[in-house]
């Protein structure tokens, strides 16, 4: 019985829609730069990413809590699930889907800082992640 059930399940799983690859790290960076009116600063992005912040949820003081301090390395969600690397150099799917990037900035900035990230902060982070 187990075997008979497996096939339709695999077929059903294959129907999940693929990523919408509608942007690139460079396009995202210039979009956020235009919004903030300032040039991105990758070093500031790095400092922001590695820093311990306050104002967010106690469980997640830093981006590093889940992503580690090396964006080329895999991280780990608090549930033990692996998070693929954030740097496009290590994971070409990153920073190619604008809705996905906005969704995770929205969630993660609120978890870590208790507020949305500014366009300038997003430009800096994208520029740093793309610099590897």
């Amino acid at each position: 019985m187990t075997r008979f059930l497996a096939l339709p399940l695999i077929l059903a799983a294959a129907a999940v829609p693929a990523l919408a690859q509608d942007t690139s790290p460079a396009q995202l960076r210039s979009g956020y730069e235009a919004e903030s009116g300032a040039a991105a600063d990758p070093a500031a992005g790095k400092a922001f990413f590695l820093a311990e912040h306050s104002g967010g949820k106690p469980e997640t003081p830093s981006c590093v809590t889940c992503h580690t301090s090396d964006p080329r390395a895999a991280g780990q969600a608090r549930t033990g699930k692996t998070i693929e690397p954030l740097a496009p150099a290590a994971n070409p799917e990153r920073l190619t889907d604008s809705a996905k990037v906005e969704k995770w900035f929205g969630r993660n900035c609120n978890s870590v800082l208790g507020r949305d990230c500014t366009a300038a902060e997003k430009a800096n982070i994208v520029a740093w992640l793309a610099s590897f």
Binding site: T2, I10, P17, T79, G80, S111
Partner: protein, 146 residues
């Protein structure tokens, strides 16, 4: 063990589409739920929790077990509707007035996992919410011993 679980399933989910296998719970087939609820942990099968639990979870995604898991309203509502319509009609040992937020704190779950889980397994899994660490087939709906 398997037989005992069959009984629990039969009592707990009389109307849920439980298939022939004893340790089987239909996995999430709804695309938005499978996509959005699998980033931080596996997409938990709807049939493990009652409708009121899914409503409570989906009504407070900004404060989701210590994280922000917010979604746009259209996606949020669509996922809630799927989870609610595939929820467990009743869960054994849980009063109609109680709204459990965790599968891993349901009475049957605690009974099944109390004695059977070794310290070594727990260390590898990190959290009881990480079903996949111990149940290799969890994403396909299988919670057998492996």
């Amino acid at each position: 063990m398997i037989r005992r679980f069959t009984l629990i399933l039969a009592l707990a989910f009389p109307a849920a589409p439980v298939l022939a296998d004893d340790d089987y719970m239909p996995p999430v087939t709804h695309p938005a739920t499978a996509e959005e609820c699998s980033a931080c942990h596996m997409a938990y099968p709807a049939g493990f929790l009652p409708a009121r639990s899914w409503q409570a979870i989906m009504g407070n995604l900004e404060n989701h077990f210590g994280e922000d898991a917010r979604l746009d309203e259209a996606t949020r509502a669509e996922i809630e509707a799927y989870l609610v319509s595939n929820a467990a009609p009743r869960v054994r040992g849980v009063a109609e007035t109680a709204t459990p937020l965790r599968i891993s704190e349901l009475p049957w779950f605690k009974r099944e996992h109390e004695r059977e889980v070794s310290a070594r397994m727990m260390e590898r899994a990190k959290s009881m919410s990480n079903c996949v660490a111990c149940h290799k087939g969890a994403e396909r709906g299988y919670f057998e011993d492996d």
